[in-house]
Symmetry: C2
């Protein structure tokens, strides 16, 4: 195999080693750069000598400053570069961009479940949500019982999913930050894959009232002993309801309620839907230096195709956007959207500051091992998955998206907090890019796991859905692979193929983002 | 049934309605108090007329001030009493108490699993801990597989328990508050019920290194491709380990590791242990006005018996202790312990204040519905479960207890955060007192659920383990029921009887207390 290093922008003074076994001292690359030392795959080599204080440039951007002399051909990593300050939010001015005329993408469809509210499901799932952790033992019991005893009777229903979480009681429900977890739980119940047939299991004495979790104005009412049989088929059940004498009566009550919802869900049928109906959440986790070269650009190309087709895409992860904010503000559709984007950055700066941390706390040992020297380099590679479309809206944590097109959905970068908030935002497909490898899976929405390098994709043959590695060696172009990923999204959304975690039944817990205190 | 109201202290000017159906307007109680209005069970009646600004006294303590004229015989609740300021921590002085000579309790034993470190297990459990949520799908898969395929081969092992949590990555691991979740995870792995045979499943690129979770100095080493067969039986496994080609090789690797640990656990046998070996965590949740009259005093009596027997008891729940701190400081064994207790209160005051909340955020709609007007009244009833023994030590969140006797283990009152921190502190038995009813259960340690009223115990016949209700009507004394509870603790600790949640397999998630930010 030849010696390959990747330089993404003509002004870059570092390049990434692409060879899976790294490159050895003495290796020669590009226009005669000779390796001064062994450098592992994914790590950076200096393409010219850098003096102390010189800018280190990747993606055409300053990712740091040499903290000592770095000879041409040497390994550039977190030990010899110091990190720049984050872009000052006040100094980023906004100019309305001239949005280029884009040819709309037509004639691509998928088979989805159309809902009354206009949203479209990609799976047909009986959702059980909860107002408080107290009920989790019982909802787990019920989930198993429904899967075994009821699902076989309702063949059009794909699965039953209980949403247990740590919120609902023992929390400061009137603290300003409480709005985030509360609306997150409420909006998850509205995820398109549940088809509006959500059940809510509450305890009875908790602070978070189950009624607050109901979709607005949908006429659902509290179940009580005096309800008629019809009313008893409605959507809220309290374990403390005095009509239940012991555990098994609670179980019977829930099973009876579940059947009513399963009957309705079983009538759902897949119909032809257009790209307009896709709501795709993009996220990365366990990233390496290839993520910004292969997986994220391929995801970004697919994101642009979806937006061209009239669909919705979101990207998230505030701490991985913060250092690229000067590249994103100019892409906002209006000054108002630009301001909202900056406001979300400022909110998070303050949140981290209160906990005596900053965005530098984002990078992991795995990122560094994979060649990402700091959060600046990570962020520049991370935002690439947003593609090039204008940003039409910014959505605060736990809110639902309001507009089609490319949205920034503000979330922590933490994979499970981000995925949970993206579910609340209304995603019906999830694309997750990883370089180091994670078995990440969600039970509500299919997760397509994209590998940034073929080494991982080959080793984790049954855990990775899509290998973007060939881009690194020029075997395929970003455009080719972007189209492949786009077509895979349609296939999975149609239920024609299953993602790895759905085949294996590997699902993570959802994690609520609660910036407020416990009591 | 006669009209019963309960007054706990001679100076109280309110009493609690004990009749399950409440008492009606016109009812006559005590020395001729005539009810002015209907008052539900658990709620307070004024025993004399109170002018605006008058002290409302229960448990001999001020629980608030009348905010308007309250006529003798009227309903006293959160609408007509205003809350006092919390006791000022600076003003509570400490005087070394004369500890009364207590007759030690002898000749009570239970059958437990003795561990090398001197701790004693009450169950024999294969524990699987994790460094990060990323691995949760796989640990859930493994837990089921071990339960089905391996446990039948190791009959002395009671169960396998995977500890999934939301920490480990996407968190500010160097923030000052990070010490709490990290030491919590580490100390849970040392819980006596795991017998030191814990397995750790990590991903590989996460911030929280699995090595940090190992018990200190036990010689365990990282598993890697170059390990010998013996070393491969050790306790850490990374999913990203390059030796694993795909999911099923990871599964095989974990199963192989599990067998080594099961072989050792299977050799554990119950032996006669004394009360000295009990470590009992006391907690309440879903409390009502009876909690402080029946369940908590009975638990407190049992706590005193355990301490007299040389064992360890802890109580927790800072926000439910804060307003009774002036009663607890004088019980501290030394000035140093008293200062630590006040420091934990101050830390929590500040934590809540940062989130723009205070201790008044603790009470729930269920508490109020059950007759608890505010956090002061709730706290005065809550601390009763600590009994009357001297407080020998104060343990910060996530720390392990260091001393036998009565400890204050600082935790949120939030049931799952508290239970998780009590597991980390080393509890081998859990007593949980409830009035409104909660199916609370933990899979690591038996939870004895005590009902504060017989109405709940009768209705939830298969979810409640012990009914303290008879105390309310004088059918049994606190002393009698305290002894009954103490004997039940020994029975359950011996494995002779199972608690309700163990019979039904109802278990809640553990919830880590993480006061630090996500990234
Ligand atoms: Ca990311
Ligand atoms: Ca992420
Ligand atoms: Ca779970
Ligand atoms: Ca409590
Ligand atoms: Ca509690």
């Amino acid at each position: 195999m030849q010696n390959i290093v990747i330089k993404t922008n003509p002004i870059d003074n570092v390049a990434i080693v692409a060879n899976p076994t790294g490159l050895k001292r003495g290796a020669i690359v590009l226009d005669g750069v000779v390796f001064e030392e062994d450098i592992p795959m994914g790590h950076k080599v200096a393409l010219k000598s850098l003096n102390e204080g010189d800018e280190v440039i990747r993606y055409g951007q300053i990712i740091g400053y040499a903290n000592r002399l770095i000879e041409k051909g040497s390994w550039v990593n977190e030990s010899n570069i110091s990190m720049p300050q984050p872009p000052n939010l006040e100094n980023i001015s906004y100019v309305q961009p001239t949005v280029p005329q884009v040819e709309p993408l037509k004639n691509f469809t998928f088979q989805g479940f159309k809902n009354a509210d206009g949203s479209v499901g990609t799976k047909n799932v009986l959702g059980i949500t909860t107002s408080v952790q107290c009920v989790a033992g019982i909802t787990n019991f019920i989930e198993n019982k429904i899967r075994k005893e009821l699902l076989p009777l309702y063949p059009n229903v794909d699965d039953v999913v209980a949403f247990n979480h740590s919120y609902g009681c023992g929390i400061a429900i009137d603290a300003p930050a409480a709005i985030i977890p509360i609306r997150t739980i409420k909006h998850i119940a509205k995820n398109p894959n549940f088809g509006g047939e959500i059940m809510i299991i509450g305890l009875g004495c908790e602070k978070l009232r189950p009624e607050r979790l109901l979709p607005d104005d949908d006429g659902l009412r509290l179940r009580s002993a005096s309800d008629t049989a019809t009313e008893r088929s409605r959507s809220i059940l309290y374990l403390q309801d005095e009509q239940f004498e012991g555990f098994y009566e609670m179980v019977d009550g829930i099973m009876e309620m579940a059947e009513k919802h399963l009957q309705k869900l079983n009538q759902r049928k897949r119909e032809t839907c257009s790209v307009v109906d896709l709501v795709v959440g993009m996220q990365c986790g366990g990233s390496d230096a290839f993520s910004g070269l292969t997986g994220n650009p391929v995801a970004g190309f697919a994101a642009d195709l979806i937006v061209k087709g009239g669909g919705t895409v979101f990207f998230s992860e505030v701490t991985e956007v913060r250092d690229a904010i000067h590249l994103l503000v100019p892409r906002c559709e209006s000054a108002e959207v630009a301001q909202k984007l900056k406001d979300e950055m400022a909110w998070y700066d303050n949140y981290l500051n209160q906990g005596q941390a900053d965005r530098s706390a984002n990078t992991t040992p795995g990122n560094k091992g994979g060649g990402l020297s700091n959060i600046v380099e990570k962020a520049l590679g991370s935002v690439v998955k947003s593609g090039t479309s204008p940003i039409v809206d910014v959505v605060s944590p736990g809110e639902k998206v309001r507009k089609k097109g490319l949205n920034f959905v503000a979330t922590p970068a933490s994979d499970f907090a981000c995925g949970t908030l993206q579910l609340a935002a209304g995603m019906n497909m999830h694309v997750f890019i990883t370089g180091r490898g994670t078995p990440y899976g969600l039970n509500m929405v299919p997760v397509i796991k994209v590998s940034s390098n073929s080494k991982l994709a080959n080793r984790w043959h049954d855990l990775i859905d899509f290998d973007a590695g060939p881009v690194a060696f020029g075997q395929k172009t970003i455009e080719e692979m972007g189209w492949e990923l786009f077509r895979l999204i349609l296939e999975i959304a149609s239920g024609n193929k299953k993602v790895a975690t759905d085949k294996l039944g590997l699902y993570n817990d959802l994690v609520l983002f609660n910036p407020g205190p416990l009591t």
